[in-house]
Amino acid sequence: MSWRHFAYVLFQTTRASFLAEEKNSSLGLIWHLLNPILMTAVLFMVFRNVDRLREIEHYELFILIGLVHYNFFINSTTRCAQNFLRSRSLILNTTVPLQLLVLRQTCIEGLTLFIEILLVLVLGVFMGANLGGALLVYPLVFAGILALSLGASLLLCALVVFLSDLNYIWSLFCRMLFFVTPVFFDPQIVGDGLARTVVELNPLTGLITLARDTLLYGGEIDPLETGLALMGSMLVLAFGWILFRTTSPRIPDYI
């Protein structure tokens, strides 16, 4: 399959999956906006009076930006693994490349993230966020989080066919990840020690921090920090890609 036709099949399958999902919902796209707004409202009400968090400027937008990126990562990876297992008929009866099934889910969730970022920008304008030249760096953050999610999804799909408990393990991992990802707190308040190391090693930390700098606070963007944040994503993508290529010939035998 040529790259051009691969892209066309990806477009058609992504479009079909997205429309089929939307068809089963009365509010459709509005859910993608309501969900993070309501969750942000809850987190804001719970944490707004905590001393170190109260000092954060535009705390509600700070949470919203963290939440949409974190949600994108867990939704795209979890749904990708679930849908991959449900694609048995497609895998066994068509010659569609298996990578396309992983990419499809990342694209669907990427579209959702794009809509949520538009919401963040609209709210940012109304709430006086510092939207300036730094905004131009955001596409890099978007590409970085897509790469990170795609890498993790490839990794999961490479193994989920062989390890029946992986979906449960990943679900547990995602819950723990919430508390080591700076969704509602600033990484600076964690202090030193093991917790700080774990938060800093989390590839989402650099991307979310960078997303806030570009979408909310403006100012100068440190190229080194940007490079490090993107490098984590690229490493996960490379590892996921290699593992998926290694196991994919055996997937149709086991699915």
């Binding site: 066309y8 008929s89 390890l163 055996r250």
Partner: protein
């Protein structure tokens, strides 16, 4: 030679050992149970199919017909040996695999045609012909899930026939693709299968419908006991198959 199988073998792990919970793996280790073996489905196949062939694949249920087609399609990798296919593939191994029944007919034509190898422009230009072939001219915006099974089959089959007509694939693999369709549509598809394939196209068709095989495929492969028992003229193969004590 467009399809060549050289010493191809395929075995599967027995279903009980696939994706079982971790605790069952640990229990079987504790009880010193030996892992159950593999089931050999096809063993040491040698096969060469030249360009322009229309070949029926026959054999009893579970003989390995679908596995053979999936090996040729590249869906399964052989455990040993090699499969060489010269040309683009188009598969119809399960009705509607990859289609989105929650979407309208028109969307499904574009989606399914993309999986079959057609681009957007070709599909747009062929849309009317596809809908006319399957008898859905006025139902472009009807949801596919609201169509009967037979009409869905007609739709997907029409897209593959159009792919064949436009020469957008060289190797066509079908597995019991005319289930549930009426005689009129069967006749149209049989005509298409006889007249459309070009000299560079190969059609492999696994089915238990011997009359259809006789009419559309000049040669046949008989799969039995994990191997290709015979490959030759369809009439001869069907005659031998009919008198076989296991399959007749």
């Amino acid at each position: 030679m467009a399809i060549r199988l050289n010493s191809v073998s395929k075995a599967f792990m027995v279903s009980d050992r696939r994706r079982r919970p971790l605790y069952r793996e640990l229990m079987s280790l504790r009880n010193h149970q030996r892992p159950e073996g593999r089931k050999v489905v096809l063993n040491d196949l040698q096969l060469e199919i030249p360009d322009g062939s229309r070949v029926a694949v026959i054999g009893r249920n579970g003989a390995g017909k679908s596995t053979l087609l999936r090996l040729i399609a590249g869906i399964y990798r052989p455990n040993s040996g090699s499969v060489d296919v010269d040309g683009r593939l188009c598969c119809f191994l399960e009705p509607g695999a990859g289609a989105a029944s929650a979407l309208p007919v028109r969307d499904n034509v574009f989606l399914y045609a993309s999986l079959a190898g057609l681009g957007w422009r070709e599909t747009r230009d062929s849309l009317e012909r596809i809908l006319k072939f399957c008898g859905l001219e006025n139902q472009e915006f009807t949801w596919v899930e609201h169509l009967s099974f037979g009409m869905q089959q007609r739709l997907f089959m029409s897209i593959l026939i159009e792919t064949m007509r436009l020469q957008r694939a060289e190797v066509f693999l079908f597995d019991e693709f005319l289930m549930g369709v009426d005689q009129a549509f069967r006749g149209k598809v049989e005509d298409a299968l006889i007249h459309y394939p070009g000299t560079n196209q190969i059609v492999l068709h696994a089915s238990h419908d011997h009359e259809l095989m006789r009419r559309t495929c000049p040669s046949a492969i008989w799969v039995e006991d994990c191997r290709i028992r015979s490959f030759g003229p369809t009439e001869d193969i069907l005659e031998r198959y009919r008198h076989d004590p296991h399959d007749g």
